[in-house]
């Protein structure tokens, strides 16, 4: 540009650069335009874009596993999934404390449901285990209370654990609670752990902090007088197993040190229980490596599992693999949805084109009256129209009755027009027909009749004139109508649901099922995302082949 090389930027009359001056002049206009669209923009963003985005995010989001079992998933990372043996004791120990917390907060069933999508049976495994987890802790609690009766009392515990400097541990445990049950655990717990006891009994301190936070903030009780839950006793038992801890306890001078020393003196009375055995006792399945494989595969915060599911694949230890034949459903449904949408679009073109042509070539008055007939279905509820088709199409319905009465069909072999693909195609073609006729009509309206006259005056027969001159000019209308009908059809739900039976349902019916019945929102989101991607891809293809400029809705 010459103005930058030779004379510098172009200047306005007052000496400011022209661009700045222009931008300033346009800013007010832009702001006003923005203000005008702001209400609608806000409405769309809040009610449409944000919910859709969050819904789509669900298709990859998988934080529930690591949020509910933060310690177990971390411990499980080093486990070799292909080893065919269950993980070691450290994992089971972490699982115990995680699951205990989850069971108290009633979160373990949600996790079970989530993992059940990937491996059947997980749901009941988590439910029954969570219910019986208390018994594991009691294995420690009973002997500890026998040896040191003072530890039966919540006040003893509170005095023993309290001190100064332990805020960091409390906060880190609070963060874990917040992950599991978002945002529930703010406020004062009424407890400050002592640094000495944290150093002396790390597991016990963590378990006590967990309990104190839950007791104070979820149940609203005063932790200084309440008895801690069983997991705290189990943690104490575990802490005391270490020789170094025993020595340290014997040297400890803090509150209730003598009670602890009672325990170290009677270590032989504490159970020699492993959590692995305890869990195996609760449910044999905990020793099944497949359960652990599933947990390990789904422990990252984001997963491609839902998407793999949506295309009939699953995540195995060696990566993605096809599902067994009898579990494949979605690919077939996608193909059927696409194919039936195409058939519906084609029938709409075949039925709609002549109607649009007649409408466009009639005098305005007559055309307007007939247009009302085209628009009439819009004023009737979709549900009513589809139900009407049910009446018409069923085997004892109007159409079959007429055909039998006319003798075209034998009474014993009435046509099956409903609860299959035929029903869906018939009803949806009828319902989507206006969306084909309207753009076709508005495009045809703009084609002057002189073109046909000109073609005929040049020697073309009626058919040639139509095919060579009129039809090519109406193609933009066909394009617009087809895109409209196809995209509407591909996401249709109500009509296939009512008249589609099993052979005539679309992928959208499956999405609805996962949203409202199976509550597998992640899979529903993945299916929806794929559907959206397919539509965008087809739109892009259409643009490449036909050109979106050639799509006219009128004018």
């Amino acid at each position: 540009m010459s103005d930058t090389t030779t004379s510098g930027p172009m200047l306005a009359a007052d000496g400011t650069p022209l661009k700045t001056s222009l931008a300033r002049a346009l800013r007010r206009q832009k702001l006003r335009a923005l203000a005008l669209i702001a209400p609608l923009l806000l409405f769309v963003v809040i009610t449409f874009i944000i919910p859709i985005a969050s819904m789509l995010l669900r298709s990859v989001e998988n934080e529930i596993v690591s949020n509910t079992m933060p310690q177990a998933t971390e411990a499980l990372q080093s486990w070799d999934a292909s080893s065919d043996t269950p993980p070691d004791e450290a994992v089971f120990q972490a699982l115990y404390f995680d699951l205990f917390r989850a069971a108290e907060a009633k979160e373990h069933t949600k996790l079970g449901t989530r993992l059940n999508y990937e491996q059947t049976g997980t749901s009941s495994l988590f439910r029954t285990s969570g219910r019986n987890l208390d018994k594991v802790g009691e294995e420690w609690q009973d002997p500890i209370e026998d040896i040191a009766p003072a530890l039966k009392d919540g006040e003893t515990w509170y005095a023993m654990m309290s001190g100064t400097g332990g805020e960091a541990l409390l906060e880190s445990r609070r963060a874990l609670w917040n992950q599991m049950v978002p945002g529930d655990f703010g406020g004062d717990v009424g407890l400050t752990l002592s640094t000495e006891i944290i150093e002396l009994l790390p597991l016990t301190s963590a378990a006590y902090a967990d309990w104190a936070i839950f007791e104070a903030l979820e149940k609203g009780r005063d932790v200084s007088s309440r008895d801690p839950w069983e997991a705290v006793y189990a943690a104490l038992g575990l802490d005391l197993r270490a020789e170094a801890t025993v020595a340290a306890v014997n040297a400890y001078q803090g509150p209730h040190a003598d009670d602890l020393r009672l325990l170290t003196a009677n270590l032989d009375q504490l159970p020699d229980l492993t959590f692995r055995d305890a869990f195996a006792d609760l449910d044999e399945d905990w020793l099944d490596p497949e359960v652990w494989q599933t947990i390990q595969i789904y422990s990252p915060s984001y997963t491609s599992g839902y998407f793999l599911n949506a295309v009939d694949m699953e995540k195995g230890p060696e990566g993605a693999q096809a599902r067994p034949d009898n579990q494949r459903i979605y690919n077939k449904l996608f193909v059927r949805t696409l194919w039936m949408s195409l058939v519906i679009t084609a029938s709409c073109i075949v039925l709609g084109y002549p109607v649009a042509w007649i409408l466009a070539n009639l005098p305005m008055r007559t055309a307007n009256v007939l247009m009302i007939l085209v628009l009439l279905p819009f004023w009737t509820s979709l549900l009513v129209r589809t139900s009407a088709w049910k009446v018409l199409l069923q085997q004892q319905g109007v159409i079959n009755d007429i055909l039998v009465w006319l003798g075209f069909v034998d009474d014993a072999n009435r046509l099956i027009l409903m609860n299959n693909a035929t029903g869906t195609v018939i009803a949806m073609t009828h319902i989507l027909l206006p969306f084909m006729i309207l753009p076709l009509y508005s495009v045809m309206k703009t084609i002057p009749p002189t073109y046909l006259r000109a073609a005929k005056s040049l020697g073309a027969t009626n058919w040639t004139a139509f095919w060579r001159v009129y039809f090519p000019q109406s193609v933009p209308g066909i394009g617009a109508g087809s895109i409209l009908v196809f995209i509407l059809a591909i996401g249709y739900y109500i009509t296939p649901e009512i008249v589609g039976g099993t052979d005539g349902v679309f992928i959208s019916n499956r999405i609805a099922y996962h949203i409202s019945s199976s509550l597998n929102w992640g899979l529903a989101a993945a299916l929806g995302t794929i559907l959206l991607a397919v539509v965008l891809l087809l739109y892009w293809l259409y643009d490449r082949i036909v050109g979106i400029d050639n799509v006219k809705l009128g004018g």
Binding site: Y451, R453, S457, L458, G459, N462, A465
Partner: protein
């Protein structure tokens, strides 16, 4: 031009009537004969039935009564695509989805000509309208004048013997229109094509045609070559419609043979005029005089000229001519056109002058 006597009625309308609603006749009793090679213009105000006639000839409308003959054969029942008549439409009707060359090849293609012939004919037609370089363009990429040429070339490319044009120059600006008028006439005469041209622009009609048919109220008011039409209009409508005209109203008082009568104007003045369609003493009449046939310079008045007193109301300088508006015998819209000559006086409003004209330029028409 072909010898006109060979085929005096190449196109013939025989007592043709047309009604759209069964109540009103749009075309009332049309009779018209056209020799081969003639350039005939149908001229008239809108709603006069001229376009309907063209559409009946093209086959897009059917005559309610009467017959249309082309080259001696009745064509009422022949569909438009079999008539072999070229047509240029008002808005050109070039097919927007085809290139210029494809547009031109279309009539040849539907006539099943082979590719080589097609290409050659298209090229020749494009060269004919000086558009040889534009074959690959789309109509939308051309200017109005260029589209007009292409439309013309398309109507001519399949060598029809009859070409119809429906106000083809209506959408062009004045300069281009004048240029195209000349070009269309040249092409039509060079190729010896019989042309029916519809327009409401009288200048176009006068400059282009061999004969002009003036339409009004579903009838041909006068069918004549341009000069006859202008100089010898047969009734008041034609006199008013073609060119500028001064009208004085009065009553016939005396008829002195076929070429002279006496008219007493409503203002009381007596003038001589040529009786055209007045036959009886006592008939009311409109006397018509062309503005350029009125003389204001007494010295130039020829023998036998008739003089009247007039008062100048307005003087307009128009370059090549002066236009003077006068009050003559009570008519305040009496216009005189004089050539801008050195000795021509430029009259001031309010001046009283004597004006005069020859009785044969003064035509007594129907009232």
């Amino acid at each position: 031009m072909l010898d006109a006597s060979v085929d005096q009625s190449f196109v013939k309308f025989d007592r043709v009537q047309k009604s759209y609603d069964g109540e009103n006749l749009v075309v009332k009793d049309l009779n018209l004969s056209m020799p081969k090679g003639e350039f005939l213009t149908m001229l008239g105000p809108s709603g006069s039935g001229k376009t309907t006639c063209l559409m009946m000839l093209a086959g897009f409308e059917t005559a309610t009564h009467g017959e249309i003959l082309l080259d001696g054969n009745p064509i009422n029942n022949i569909p438009p695509h079999k008539r072999g008549i070229g047509m240029v439409f008002q808005n050109y009707a070039l097919f927007p989805h085809m290139t210029v060359a494809e547009n031109l090849a279309f009539p040849l293609e539907v006539r099943k000509m082979d590719k080589a012939t097609r290409e050659e004919k298209v090229k020749r037609a494009l060269d004919m309208v000086q558009m040889g370089a534009f074959g690959g363009r789309r109509p939308a990429q051309l200017s109005g004048g260029q589209q007009q040429r292409i439309a013309l070339a398309r109507a001519l490319v399949f060598e029809p013997e009859l070409v119809l044009m429906d106000e083809p120059l209506g959408a062009l600006d004045k300069q281009l229109r004048e240029h195209m008028q000349f070009e269309i006439t040249r092409l039509a005469h060079d190729l010896g094509i019989t042309t029916v041209y519809v327009t409401h622009d009288q200048t176009e009609a006068l400059t282009m045609s061999d004969r002009v048919a003036v339409f009004e109220d579903g009838r041909i008011q006068q069918l004549a070559p341009p000069d006859t039409l202008y100089e010898e209009p047969e009734n008041s409508f034609v006199a008013q419609f073609i060119g500028e005209n001064n009208t004085l109203e009065g009553v016939v008082t005396k008829i002195n043979g076929p070429d002279l009568c006496e008219v007493k104007l409503d203002g009381g003045e007596l003038i001589d005029a040529k009786p055209v369609n007045v036959s009886n003493v006592g008939d009311r009449t409109r006397v018509s005089i062309r503005p350029e046939r009125v003389e204001m310079n007494q010295e130039r008045l020829q023998d036998g000229a008739h003089t009247l007193k007039a008062e100048v109301l307005e003087f307009i300088y128009m370059g090549d001519i002066f236009r003077t508006r006068l009050r003559v015998a009570g008519n305040e819209e009496f216009v005189v056109k004089t050539r801008n000559a050195p000795d021509q006086a430029r009259l001031k409003p309010g001046t009283h002058v004597d004006i005069g004209w020859l009785p044969q330029d003064c035509r007594a028409l129907d009232a």
